[in-house]
Amino acid sequence: MNKPPATLELRSAPLLHTPRTVEQIMRHVVYALLPLCAFAVYAFGLSAAALIGVVTVSCVGAEQLFNRLAGRVSTLADNSAVITGLLLALTLPPGFPLWMGAVAGFIAIGLGKAVFGGLGGNIFNPALVGRAFVQAAFPVAITTWHAPFMNGRFTHFMPTSLTTPFLVPPDAPLWYGALPVDTVSGATPLALHKFEHVATGTLDLFLGTTAGSLGETSAILILLCGAYLAARRLLNWRIPVAVLVSAFAVSAAFALADGQRYPDPWFMLGSGGLMLGAFFMATDPVGAPVTPRGAWLYGALIGAVTVVIRLFGGLPEGVMYAILLGNAATPLIEAVTQPRVYGTGRQSAPDKNPP
């Protein structure tokens, strides 16, 4: 009998592995994002579909290009570039010029991910890096909003969508005169509140009948999709809970202090990109703390900073900057929230005189 020589396998911790792979996790996140995309197309029509497509293709193309340049194996199969593209598209306003969407996608992957060495090396959420870039580069286009559920939305592109690359988008109201539509453009609830002091009903906010970025309008749908991911344990449920609780608490404190000036906390939760950011952006496993206490702290920081920017900043929306700030603070948060190593005492000084 030829028995194979006995081997002793030496391993170091961690000894327990989850059978889950990056590909599986990412695929489920894509599934969770698809209903949001579908609702965006339903609400904003052809332009939304084209924008989602262009941004996603741009992200995937950039991923392939940078892999090629760096001489790495293709990482397209893990779907992470698709997620970045979908998330980025969902944070852009409908009618955002498609060429700017392509720029945003390229920057998101190139500057947000590839320069750090690819998936897992990035310090910021790539989708938000892309959005922050176009927010600073094209401040007018990214704050041009269109009303949802326009009549001709499935047959006509929004005029700004098809802008020639590198040119200024056309003036939307001029174009709308010739189209079979009844609404011109719509300000977001946050902008309405900040600049015109018009309140939007909480029900509208949660159902998604308001103007806004592609994927941020329907709070209910985001809650459902986020709950699906949380139930499958694909996102750290502590982070969205902490973000929402913290945003609610901080805005409630302001509303109690001066109800005339500050909006009620339910408005804060339902409006803008807070829901989308809390469930899909802040929970990016690369940029968020892994320690449980760190996750609470990180979420609370994001929620509070969002409310402060919304109430006191020059911009009506602050979720993007709050999450980027949270990403930046993550190493620090992880350093101060290290869990106690099993078996070590709570007292730092070891027992000098063992019995």
Binding site: A141, F166, V168
Partner: protein, 222 residues
């Protein structure tokens, strides 16, 4: 006492004395010195060019004077002396720019006066001019100054082209060009600098027989 000159410290005057500051040890693109004016004033080609030329003048003038006075300046107060010399030339530039164009002066702001503390100039004075003959010092300072100007112009050109669609104030792309506002903001400066560094390091790496990209450590003193 001045810094003693070791015999090996005065190499013969070669092309490298001049070219060193332009390519191999370019202050902006290789040594990453003087980042403060680099980021602050390169939002248009005009400002970048003016800032570069102002620095070039101060650099050549102060290096010449430091080199001439190198055997008279006591070692213990040499930095203070250099600063006084640099400040004198900076004052000349400051007044000259005010006289030539008040708008340019307004655009460059405090960064003209801040040439006094520009580490490129003090570094050249301390590390080079204080121990080299006059001709060496002037030629080397000219090279470094031109290299600095070149770096600023490379940044300012790209930033103005993308950020306003113009070059030296003249429209390049036509009226309906969408400006990339971020290029005029500080982040745009970092992006453009990073892109240039990427390109230049890639080119350096492709030079035949090139060693891995040299990363000279700047000599801020002894």
């Amino acid at each position: 006492m001045t810094t003693p000159l070791r015999p090996d410290q005065t190499p013969p005057l070669t092309m490298d004395t001049f070219l060193q500051g332009i390519w191999r040890e370019n202050p902006v693109l290789v040594m990453m010195l003087g980042m403060c004016p680099t980021m602050a004033v390169t939002n248009s080609l005009r400002n970048a060019l003016a800032m570069g030329l102002a620095t070039l003048f101060v650099l050549v003038g102060s290096n010449a004077l430091v080199s001439m006075l190198r055997s008279l300046v006591p070692g213990t107060v040499r930095i203070a002396t250099y600063i006084v010399i640099i400040a004198s030339f900076t004052t000349v530039v400051d007044y000259a720019i005010q006289a030539i164009s008040l708008t340019l002066y307004g655009a460059l702001g405090a960064f003209i006066q801040l040439i006094v503390v520009n580490c490129i100039i003090l570094g050249r004075a301390e590390a080079y001019a204080s121990r080299r003959p006059l001709l060496h010092s002037v030629i080397n300072a000219g090279g470094v100054g031109i290299g600095f100007t070149l770096g600023l112009v490379m940044l300012g050109g790209v930033r103005e082209l993308l950020g306003s669609g113009t070059l030296l104030g003249f429209p390049v792309f036509g009226a309906s060009f969408q400006p990339w506002v971020i290029m005029l903001l500080p982040p745009g400066g970092f992006f453009v600098l990073g892109a240039w560094l990427l390109l230049l390091n890639w080119l350096r790496g492709r030079q035949p027989g090139a060693a891995p990209t040299p990363v000279p450590v700047h000599n801020h003193g002894r």
